[in-house]
């Protein structure tokens, strides 16, 4: 996994010391809030509805048990005993006091963590496939390239004041678990016809008030040129991106306003000019980084586990969890375990200090000390022996972390909404809670199959509603919360933007609406169609009718 070198340790140490001074000057009145705000945001510190909020980076979603224990410690010592995993694989604390934040950052630095690149108009913390390094379907471990990008982008002097924030996601699988088509830049590692691996470069995706699916501007970029090509894209954006209008400042607007061909030409011209310079990493440096991600020493195991099979037959609940929450590992005898942070009636992404420590213990004992955060607000133990799955399931069950609902109707993405967020117009979490309660029957959930519900409490779309199979957007109408339903979105390899289906609904009706839509789908699906497949086959009209028809 990633590790600090002496540069990182120095950078982070200096940054925390600087911020400590800035906080002291703010408290003394030497700095005004206007002067202080950009400084605190550069250190991941926001002011939310009830308190400050500190967003801590989890580079490409990878955590060690030591780091997870520290996150638990911070939650307990400085916050209110919990944290919230976000759609960018980061963790947020909702109640830190300003006066404590320098100490929190010092504590995090002890385990090579920080809040850099979690706010501001810079290149943000890079995200990736949560199964990286473990997935049976990946070409190679994408985190090597995430780490290359992390080192290049951290405090990049030219890209510290971009027109707007900039998000990069990397995957190495055909099955897109990193939402690469919805990022400012999405990178997909794949093999070309000659058998070489390189990047498909996708630019200009994004959600918010003007959603776009990204455009592929290069089908195949040799890996060694990654940084010069990224630099070319960023340079074009930095120069040409709009700074006069906050809502038109993201790269998606630049790409789509002038057309993707024009944008591509600008990038290629810039790349031609700079590609011979020394931006690209020398091979030995890439190999040095690759060594960080040397796979763990997997045991030579039979593909199937007799212990597991015996338990599977004996316990239906365990069998269900295996079916729903575990995924094929690239190594025989191992599995990937998804930890659901979506219990029935729970708050998506929230995890207590005690749960964090339990996850850390399980990772240390059973998953090669590795944990992953997912953009769908869950956690992963990436390398669990099939022989150990039963014990892991039991331990997770005790902690209420074994809800077998990954990818199902109650595995909902929801932004914090008006319960916490100062930008929100409406609440999101209560809608997620009511839906998960309404669909609490596990057998029914499994029968419904993959169904991605995503909920945002405002048009900024942190809850990814545009790309939910069913998306729900909260809108405020004269002090009342209403919810707009969109259908047919997807954030995966079949990325698409959902379509608004009609007038907004009250919170109670929104939950009922999901039920009606699911009911219609179950009555009209063919074979093994998912909800989204049936929707795409039949179109919006029958679903609209099912939704708005008089009861």
């Amino acid at each position: 996994m990633y590790r600090y070198d002496e540069f990182d340790a120095t950078l982070v140490g200096e940054r925390v010391a600087q911020f400590r001074g800035q906080v002291e000057r703010r408290l003394s009145g030497a700095l005004s809030e206007e002067q202080f705000k950009p400084l605190r945001l550069m250190n991941g510190l926001y002011l939310q509805l009830h308190a400050y909020m500190l967003r801590v980076a989890v580079p490409y979603g990878t955590l060690s048990s030591r780091q997870m224990r520290k996150l638990a410690y911070v939650a307990r010592k400085y916050d209110k005993g919990y944290g919230h995993f976000t759609t960018r694989q980061n963790i947020q604390y909702n109640w830190p006091a300003l006066v404590d934040v320098p100490d929190i950052l010092d504590d995090l630095a002890e385990v090579e963590m920080h809040a850099i690149q979690t706010s501001g108009n810079c290149i943000r913390n890079v995200t990736s496939d949560q199964y990286a390094g473990a997935a049976a379907d990946e070409v190679e471990d994408p985190r090597i390239w995430c780490e290359v990008i992390r080192q290049w982008s951290t405090f990049h002097p030219e890209f510290t004041y971009l027109p707007r924030k900039f998000k990069i996601a990397v995957t190495a699988s055909q099955n897109d678990r990193a939402a690469i088509r919805l990022h400012d830049i999405g990178l997909r590692i794949h093999k070309n016809d000659a058998g070489e691996t390189g990047f498909e470069v996708i630019v200009g995706g994004g959600l918010g008030r003007t959603p776009y699916i990204g455009h592929t501007i290069r089908e195949f970029l040799p890996k060694k040129h990654l940084l010069s090509y990224l630099e070319a894209v960023l340079r074009v954006y930095n120069l040409e991106g709009r700074r006069d209008n906050l809502y038109k400042a993201r790269i998606k607007i630049l790409v789509n306003a002038g057309g993707v061909e024009k944008f591509t030409d600008l990038v290629e011209a810039e790349w031609t000019a700079i590609r011979k310079s020394e931006i690209d990493l020398p091979t030995e440096e890439i190999e040095r980084i690759r060594a960080y991600f040397t796979p763990p020493d997997f045991e030579d195991l039979p593909a199937e586990s007799a212990v597991l099979e015996q338990k599977r037959k004996g316990e239906a609940a365990f069998a269900r969890w295996l079916r729903v929450n575990t995924v094929a590992h690239k190594t025989p005898g191992y599995a990937i375990v998804n930890i659901s942070l979506k219990p029935v009636g729970g708050i998506p992404g929230d995890i207590s200090d005690v749960q964090m420590e339990a996850v850390a213990d399980l990772a240390a004992q059973y998953s090669q000390d590795e944990i992953r955060a997912t953009h769908e607000q869950n956690l992963v133990l990436p390398h669990v022996k099939k022989d150990d799955l039963y014990v892991v399931w039991q331990a997770l069950t005790v902690q209420d972390l074994a809800t077998p609902n990954i990818r199902l109707v109650s595995d909902i993405i929801a932004c914090p909404g008006l319960d916490y967020c100062t930008l929100a117009n409406t609440r999101s979490i209560p809608i997620a809670q009511r839906i998960s309660e309404r669909f609490s029957d596990l057998e029914q959930q499994e029968d419904i199959g993959e169904l991605k519900i995503k909920i945002s409490g405002c048009i900024n779309a942190c809850g990814h509603h545009h790309v939910g199979h069913i998306g729900i957007l909260g809108v405020d109408k004269k002090g009342e919360e209403f919810y707009q339903i969109t259908l047919g979105g997807s954030g995966a390899e079949d990325a698409s933007l959902g379509e608004i289906v009609g007038r907004g609904l009250s919170s109670g009706d929104a939950v009922g609406a999901v039920e009606k839509l699911v009911h219609y789908y179950r009555n009209n699906r063919q074979d093994n169609e998912r909800f989204i497949d049936t929707y795409r086959r039949l179109g919006a009209d029958p679903f609209k009718e099912a939704l708005y028809a008089a009861a």
Binding site: R26, L27, S28, G29, S32, E33, L47, Q48, L49, H50, A51, Y52, K80, W95, A97, L98, V99, I347, L418, D419, Y420, T426, R427, I429, P430, Q433, D476, K478, G479, E480, E481
Partner: protein
């Protein structure tokens, strides 16, 4: 009617300006102003940069409850997250 609110600088807690010019965490203690009188009070409050941040005016009823367009937001701000009754001021009042 109007009241003045903001977040306490040291910890971000939601506070309201009282009649005695101190900051209270209970909205019920907030000083109430006529619509025409509140602007200079806000300007004065905003100068108290060592105590609070992000001060602004809210609409309240004569009883001190939030009203107007931001009613949900100000209700939640004053009480705590509706999904965590154990957190925020709502937890303190009934402990």
């Amino acid at each position: 009617m109007k009241a003045i609110t903001g977040n306490r600088l040291s910890d971000g807690a939601v506070v309201y300006l009282r009649d005695d010019d101190q900051w209270a965490t209970q909205r019920g203690e907030a000083a109430r102003f006529d619509d025409d009188d509140v602007a200079p009070v806000l300007r004065a409050a905003q100068l108290r940069v060592r105590e609070i941040t992000d001060a602004y005016i809210i609409d309240i009823t004569a009883d001190g409850a939030p009203s107007g367009r931001a009613i949900i937001r100000e209700t939640i701000r004053g009480a705590g997250p509706t999904v965590r009754g154990d957190l925020g001021l709502q937890a303190e009042c009934c402990a």
